[in-house]
């Protein structure tokens, strides 16, 4: 969870300065919206984390507001607006710890007819996958995902400058952002596979994760060029930055892991096919600090190919299927360089997903089942949810997170002791 640290303060003051630099300042307090929420996730499997009975127990207040500049000034002329969204939380998992997470605080404007700019903290998403990301290298929070928070929290915000160009030929998005790692299981709330512990670890994990220092040479760049071809959408992607997961070793004896440099090149096509929506997306991950693939401590370069299909079967019943293929590219070099005591990761991974959604009672009841299954890793992850909009304001959700796997070191297998059943009650305003 992001705390109100120095960086957050910098973002707040940067946007605040940009806002106050223009005349006039806020004319009136804009409308405030958001929600208040209660979450509880009971654990249904044992591990060695901080608590045995639950892995989610929190209250959350989200406040959000938009301000649109008006009057005769530069910002109003350029259709500028400020967006704010922040979450106050009380986390009983950490004995009632209070926190504030700034999810959005940005200034958005259109300085030229075919240019949009968004500066500040923002959530960024692109690509065609459903819970699977090939070219979306923006930060994710997998602890939220596996513990039963709303889908919104799978996406972490970035401190970024996003420029969107709209020349007639194609549309271009270009993002410059500060490195932000994925939030992954670290043993306190969720157990996971820790190679230093030789298996699934909880609070006994004592890894040291080294983030790239904040400096200009460590900024990340993400580019998307997209265009419609009649009903289909074609896109190309480029990313230059860092691996978002600490899967590479800096210093084994000091138990230090780090986020090596990573470039990703990719493309996607999405559009109607066979009375549904089909998509294909590919990505080539170039692990720049191990381009030969012979460094056993650093992630291998990879290719990822994703294809998906979603169809509406009528009566508010939808089915979606996806297939993801991943291959390490210098696997022989990786294997040759392994030491006898090393864990050996597979070269290939096949992953299938399926999403079934059915709505009832004038779309106020949503029953959904998302299933990950990897025949190569022999693992999977079942995510059933039932939600009910009791009124426009009140919504309750009952769901479960059920990862499973034969082995401890696969993506979902390592999460198998984090099974939970959760309830979420939200009042929106």
């Amino acid at each position: 969870m992001g705390k109100v640290n120095l960086d957050t303060k910098l973002i707040i003051s940067a946007v605040a300065m940009a806002v106050t630099a223009s005349q006039p300042i806020f004319a009136a307090m804009p409308d405030m919206h958001g929600f208040a929420e209660f979450d509880y996730g009971a654990k249904v499997s044992d591990d060695n984390t901080k608590r045995d009975d639950f892995n989610l127990f929190e209250q959350r207040l989200q406040l959000k507001t938009n301000y649109f500049f008006e009057g005769e000034n530069y910002l109003a002329e350029k259709r500028a607006s400020v967006h704010f969204k922040g979450d106050f939380t009380v986390d009983e998992y950490f004995s009632g710890k209070t926190d504030f997470e700034l999810r959005e605080f940005n200034l958005s404007l259109t300085p030229y007819n075919n240019l949009d700019v968004k500066l500040g903290r923002q959530v960024l998403t692109w690509g065609t996958g459903d819970y699977l990301f090939v070219n979306d290298l923006f930060p994710k929070d997998y602890v939220s995902f596996f513990s039963g928070r709303d889908d919104e929290y799978l996406k972490k915000p970035s401190d970024a400058l996003k420029m969107s160009f709209f020349p007639s030929l194609a549309n271009v998005d270009f993002v410059i952002s500060r490195f932000e790692s994925n939030t992954i299981a670290e043993g306190d709330r969720l157990s996971f596979f820790d190679s230093f512990q030789g298996g699934i670890a909880g609070t006994n994990s004592d890894r040291d994760l080294l983030e790239p220092p904040s400096r200009a040479s460590n900024l990340e760049y993400a580019l998307r060029i997209y265009q419609s071809l009649e009903s289909h959408e074609l896109a190309f992607y480029y990313f230059r930055g860092f691996d978002k997961n600490p899967n590479s070793y800096k210093d084994e004896t000091a138990r230090q892991l780090f986020y090596p440099r990573l470039d990703v090149y990719g493309g996607s096509l999405r559009g109607p096919v066979m009375n549904g929506i089909g998509n294909v997306e590919f990505g080539y991950d170039n692990s720049r600090e191990d381009s030969e693939g012979n460094n056993r401590l650093i992630e291998n370069s990879k290719v990822k190919i994703l294809s998906g299909y979603e169809k509406d079967l009528g009566n508010d019943f939808k089915v979606g299927l996806q297939y993801l293929y991943e291959q390490k590219l210098d696997y022989d070099d990786y294997k040759v360089n392994l030491l006898p005591a090393d864990f050996v990761f597979d070269e290939l991974r096949h992953l299938l997903t399926q999403r079934i959604t059915k709505l009832f009672k004038n779309q106020t009841v949503n029953v959904s089942l998302f299933n990950f299954y990897s025949p190569s890793d022999k693992d999977g992850y079942v995510r059933p949810t039932v939600s009910y909009h009791i009124t426009d304001q009140w919504k309750s959700t009952l769901g479960a997170n059920l990862p499973w796997g034969e082995e401890d070191m696969t993506e979902f297998g390592q999460m198998k002791r984090n099974k939970n059943v959760y309830i979420r009650v939200r009042y929106s305003f």
Partner: protein, 268 residues
């Protein structure tokens, strides 16, 4: 006996001939009325901006509210259209945008933008009989149905709330949400003032009613309407406010750019 039969035949002949002359005088076949009605109802002017308030009311009187601004642009009468919707209410979908490219001869293209996760989602559109945002209106009800998809018969003419109406029966040629539809079309402006939808058991199960018609920029517009589901007791009341026609909505509004950054000058 024979004479009675002869008189009856003559009478029937005269009646048929008379009704034939009548409809010839009006100059419209049932098919034409339906086609004109579709243009008046779904294709009025070249573009339209409207703030729509929907109340979804269940049999116990519990209300849910959907409030959105809709922009529509026509590219050809009876042909291609683009829609842009921006949701104001309820709170949990506020700022969500929805865009539809509607084609006469193939499935719509639909995109949904979910601002909380900055996600543009492509929506499978093979579901014209599904409910629109949980209301009693189907996607087809809010975007129209091609006249050729049904066989139409003029049943009679009737006065409905002081309006002269064509009463037309429409039987679907292929798969449809209903087995029979009966429509009351205003003779003057072709707007549907009432529609009845019948199911497989030939029972009336949905009923549409126009409750207020106003002239806006010279165009007759249904500003209040209700759709009742008679089987569930659920109903949806819709009010059109701030209707504007031909305000020059530009083509670029209907793009991923504005889906992600709603054009506030239009949707406020």
């Amino acid at each position: 006996m024979r004479m009675i039969r002869t008189l009856f035949l003559i009478g029937a002949f005269l009646f048929l001939g008379f009704s034939k002359i009548c409809s010839a005088q009006e100059g419209f076949s049932a098919q034409e009325v339906i086609a004109k009605s579709r243009l008046a109802f779904f294709y009025a002017a070249n573009d339209m901006r409207v703030k729509i308030s929907m109340e979804l009311i269940n049999q116990n009187g519990h209300k849910r509210v959907r409030e959105l601004t809709m922009l529509r642009k026509d590219y050809e009468d009876g042909g291609e259209q683009k829609y842009f919707m921006y949701f104001h209410k309820p709170a949990d979908v506020k700022d969500t945008t929805f865009m539809v490219y509607k084609y006469p001869d193939k499935d719509d293209d639909r995109w949904l933008f979910i601002p909380a996760i900055d996600l543009v989602k492509r929506i499978a559109a093979n579901d014209k009989f599904s409910s629109f945002v949980g209301s009693d209106f189907t996607y087809e009800d809010v975007s129209g149905r091609k006249p050729e998809e049904d066989t139409h018969h003029l049943l009679r003419k009737e006065v409905l709330n002081d309006n002269n109406c064509f009463v037309i029966e429409s039987i679907p040629r292929g798969k449809a949400e209903y087995t029979k539809r009966i429509s009351w079309m205003d003779e003057n402006n072709f707007l549907p003032l009432k529609e009845e939808f019948y199911d497989k058991q030939n029972e009336l199960y949905r009923q549409f009613e126009a409750q207020e018609v106003k002239e806006i920029n010279g165009i007759m517009t249904i500003t209040k309407r209700v759709m009742r589901n008679l089987k569930t007791g659920h109903r949806t009341e819709v009010v059109f406010q701030e209707v504007e026609y031909n305000s020059g909505i530009t083509d670029d509004i209907f793009s991923e750019r504005y889906l992600r950054k709603a054009p506030m000058e239009w949707v406020k």
